[in-house]
Amino acid sequence: MHLPRLSLEVFRPRWSPRPEHGCVVLEKDKVFIADPTAREAGVRVGMKRGGVLTLSPHTVMYERDPLRENLMQREVAFALMRFSPMVALCEEATLVMDVTASLRLFGGIVRVCHYIREVVDAIGVTARMSTAPTGQGAWLLAKQRGTGGAGGAQRVLKMTSLERALGRLPFLAAPEVRAFSEWFTGLGCKTLSDIRRLPRAGLKRRCGVALLDTLDRAYGLAPELYEWLTVPPTFSARVELPDRVEHADAILFCARRLIVQLCGWLGAQQLALTHASIALEHERGRAAIAPTVIDLALAEPTWREDHLVRLLKERLGRTELAAAVIAVRLSVTQAQPAQPSTEALFPEPGGSVDDHNRLLELLVARLGVDNVLRPAPRADHRPEHANRWVPMHDARRAEAPPADLPRPTWLLEKPLPLMMKNDRPFYSSPLKLVSTGERIEGGWFDGASASRDYFVAQASDQSCYWIFRERPSSADADDTRWFLHGLFG
């Protein structure tokens, strides 16, 4: 895979909004690469800084940054580790990856290429992909496809068709040949097949071993050795935003780029994420502002990109930014070995337990921990204390209530004082008591003492209410007060 626009895209990833007047990247005061808007304005590769300023004075200019290019190349490589642990960084902004062992898992080479394309798009770089039975061959094909050369098949799977495709390539594709390009042109060579037809012994004497080795590796005549990328034991990635961002939602794009890398890292190590934190670094004003940290705690360890992105989206939607954000850092604080899901022969209609846990996480992320509740009743006689609802993943356990205690389905948050009419409690119509009383007295130990007689009352439209009469605390107080406390759903 070749990243032809890497030096531009380290500054402006593909998902970032295009600057109005284009942008160019300069190397040694000469234009190295220009985006389409700048090219339309007349900027050409190799032009000097002054020339660019004359043609379009508002064009954004960046100095080429090989260090950042290298970092970005590594980012792409980590993201690709989801598909195969064998990913190597090569010269000239290229990556080589061995997917032979993963073809069956992902369902064929076309599918793999499709998935890789999605990942690369999420990171925000342009990529040219090609496949070949040899790494060097794929390298040459990917490098050459965009430069308007032989075109050629994007996916070459057989050795014979690889030989044909390579033979059509102009010889400038191979870096070792470039030093001798004038000499080869003088010989009348145009393509790689022309060079291969030259006598080997003479080539070796004049051009050295490196050239022949490259060609042999490309044609599968010599073994290939790559320095596969090793996975770091911890994950912490940082990305700088192209512009300052005021809204948390807008960070999602760049957070996706981090999550894609994270998934690659998890996939390579076969880990599942349980805890991660995202720090949003703020612009420095007069005083440094501490970064806003969002903690992602997962009840169910996951390594799936879509779930993480959805969770983060809901969390970011609720986050208020103290200041503009200039960079985002994602670090894994806890991970554990991934457990592949067990597939049932006959799947249940409701989906697996994991699906349900993912749903709960999503709901918690949007509504907040305190709004996704489960019942955990307490052993208490006072109904409002016995009815306790706790957050879903709270450790507090339900104390088993007596099974046959008759209780209404709904409780009012606060008992509603009832009017009295003709010595009867009144709630939209006079209420008549239809059951014997249940005396509840408790709470003297925690300061919220209650001493009540509960009755079921029926209104004139036949609906039933659970009402109570507060027992007067002293003997001489005789104004009994009635309250509505529950409804029979």
């Binding site: 749903l359 009743p377 409780l411 009469r469 029979f488």
Partner: protein
């Protein structure tokens, strides 16, 4: 031109006469009340579709009406979204609904509530979703109805009885009013003939919680009721 067959409904299982109940109705879960099941197409609450329960006011027996169905679906979670009052866990336990399967969602905004309901339906991992929301726009109803069709969740929306005259994409709409020892159900909309007369259903368990002979004493003034508990019970 061919004459129509005598039984038009035999042409295709999805076809039914206006005077019949729809036969091919997807999955249903029994209501537990024989009189009501007989009036519903498919013989029970339909799964994977929007069902509207139009109640005169919350707390007139709507949960007891659903009790047998909820108990049958309680292998999976039962989600209560935006309940009108605080659900009493002990009350649900008394109705025989396992507490560990209950989940309550409260949403700060109605958009959040609609979003949550849609996510629950899309995930399809809950056995039943009961959603209280008023007012709700008809686009939202249609959206939820569509989301419900991809799942096998019993999806009930509880709305006020005054909404009965509004149009709705729901396939089944029932009006519920309180009555003597249960409720009266009006079938507002169903796949079948129009039913004008109401259906009265005795609900179990009765809300008159204590003492089977409490009704005899209901005309007695309240203090005497309190004192009427036999000394053996008090001590």
């Amino acid at each position: 031109m061919h004459a129509l067959p005598e039984h038009v409904e035999d042409i295709h299982p999805a076809l039914w006469r206006g005077s019949q109940l729809a036969a091919n109705y997807g999955k249903t879960v029994d209501t537990g009340y024989a009189a009501l099941s007989a009036e519903l197409p498919g013989g029970g609450w339909p799964l994977g579709t929007l069902v509207e329960l139009l109640v005169q006011q919350p707390g007139i027996g709507e949960v007891r009406l659903l009790r047998p169905a909820l108990a049958a679906l309680s292998q999976r979670t039962i989600a209560l979204v935006m309940p009108p009052h605080l659900p009493n866990a002990l009350g649900f336990g008394y109705l025989g609904i396992p507490l560990e399967q209950l989940m309550m969602l409260r949403a700060p905004k109605s958009a959040d509530a609609l979003w949550s309901a849609e996510q629950i339906l899309k995930a399809g991992s809950c056995g039943a979703l009961i959603f209280w929301q008023h007012p709700v726009r008809s686009e939202s109803l249609r959206r939820l109805h569509l989301a419900a069709q991809s799942s096998e969740t019993l999806f009930l929306m509880v709305r006020p009885l005054t909404c009965a005259s509004d149009s709705s994409p729901a396939t089944l709409r029932l009006g519920v009013r309180p009555a003597g020892d249960g409720i009266v159900v009006d079938v507002v909309k169903r796949r079948g003939p129009i039913r004008t007369e109401t259906l009265s259903i005795a609900l179990q368990p009765s809300p008159i919680l204590l003492s089977p002979y409490g009704r005899i004493r209901r005309h007695a003034p309240a203090p005497s009721v309190a004192r009427s508990i036999s000394p053996a019970l008090v001590t």
